[in-house]
Amino acid sequence: MKNKSLVSINDFTREEHVRILELAGAFEKRPKQRILEDFVVATLFFEPSTRTRLSFESAATRLGARVIGFTDASSSSVTKGESLRDTILTVSNYCDIIVMRHPREGSARFASEVSKVPVINAGDGANQHPTQTLLDMYSIRKTQGSLDNLNIAFVGDLKYGRTVHSLVQALCNYNTTFHLVSPQELKLPSSVKIDIKERNLVYHQYTELLEVIPKVDILYMTRIQKERFSDPLDYEKVKNAYVLRNNMLESAKANLKIMHPLPRVNEITTDVDDNPKAYYFTQALNGVFVRQALLASILGVVD
């Protein structure tokens, strides 16, 4: 994977995904290794995303790399009207790898074509966020022992959530049975369902959360955003229908884990946090190991 950009989850093969997950496991055992001391990592955040940026910077710093960059476009020359092309051409002189978050879809692909150094996409608009997908895969594999043959429920906003779309697409390689729980207005788009059908995999759709809980190994919760509804009344109708409470977990399988890409608002009540099935904060920690694995393998320090 040396010098290879990661823009879209499909840029890496199934074998490469597995290799990253294995490497992430090694970094989880030994998170502090100064193997990137000779490298400069640039984090270019054209829109703020504190969580993702800190996770990348933590990963880079724990491996001894130097980190340069900006945290939102207002503190860069973008406000002076510089094109993305020029910013990337300039910054790629100063660093060995670029981590980029940008509000426009396709910006990361374009940056990877212009840049002299590899680019890791940390989110391009509503399009892709592949490191989130990899950390989700890592979390599932770690808690379930394998990615194969699992029953996975996705709950909430399945229409607009890029996290959900990419993870569903990645899991299509692992004989997953999908359980899709959402209001009518926020069902999984047909373009993603086509991917499931093409692999001859099964999906079930529900509008009720409770009935799906005993069936699944992973419950992947997402936030339903008010602004997704054209009629505020429609939002009021569904906003409490997809809230997970601790007492709903009595019928769950022993191995069930609850995941959430965070930030959470009210879709998981805080009484769930103490339940051993709650996994969302560990999931965020796993992001650091996955990003360490990506930086180290793309910079060619590990094979």
């Binding site: 879209s8 094109s83 396709g106 509503a126």
Partner: protein, 155 residues
Amino acid sequence: MEKEDLRKELKVSAIENGTVIDHIPSESVFQVIKILNLTEYQNQLLIATNLDSQKMGKKGIIKVSNKFFKSDEINKIALVAPSATLIIIKNFAVIEKKKVEVPDYAEKIVKCFNPNCITNNEEITTKFTVIDKKELKLRCHYCEKITARDNISFR
């Protein structure tokens, strides 16, 4: 070609050598000219539009003297004129007649329908993979969104 079509075609003089692009939807004639870069063409170029057509109601036709297109060049017009017929003329005689085919890739000419795509916000050559030739669905190389027949437009 039906008899009536033949008669109509004579409204536009015959060419000795070159390519005739027939059965272009009237509204797409100028788009085809643009896609094929014919605005700069230095040889004889005959353009007619809103001609009566039995098949299409109204149609356009373009006759390009001394020009034989490569197939990847000409197939681009299938995106705007899927009904177009190509007729290769040598010494006033029809040598070959064929339909245009939707290409596997489209560069430059198509505009991504996603307003938030980077190609609509910076100077970037658009690139698409045609994922469905029949229904005409194109996946943007950059934002990965699908531009379909209903929302396709050209640069």
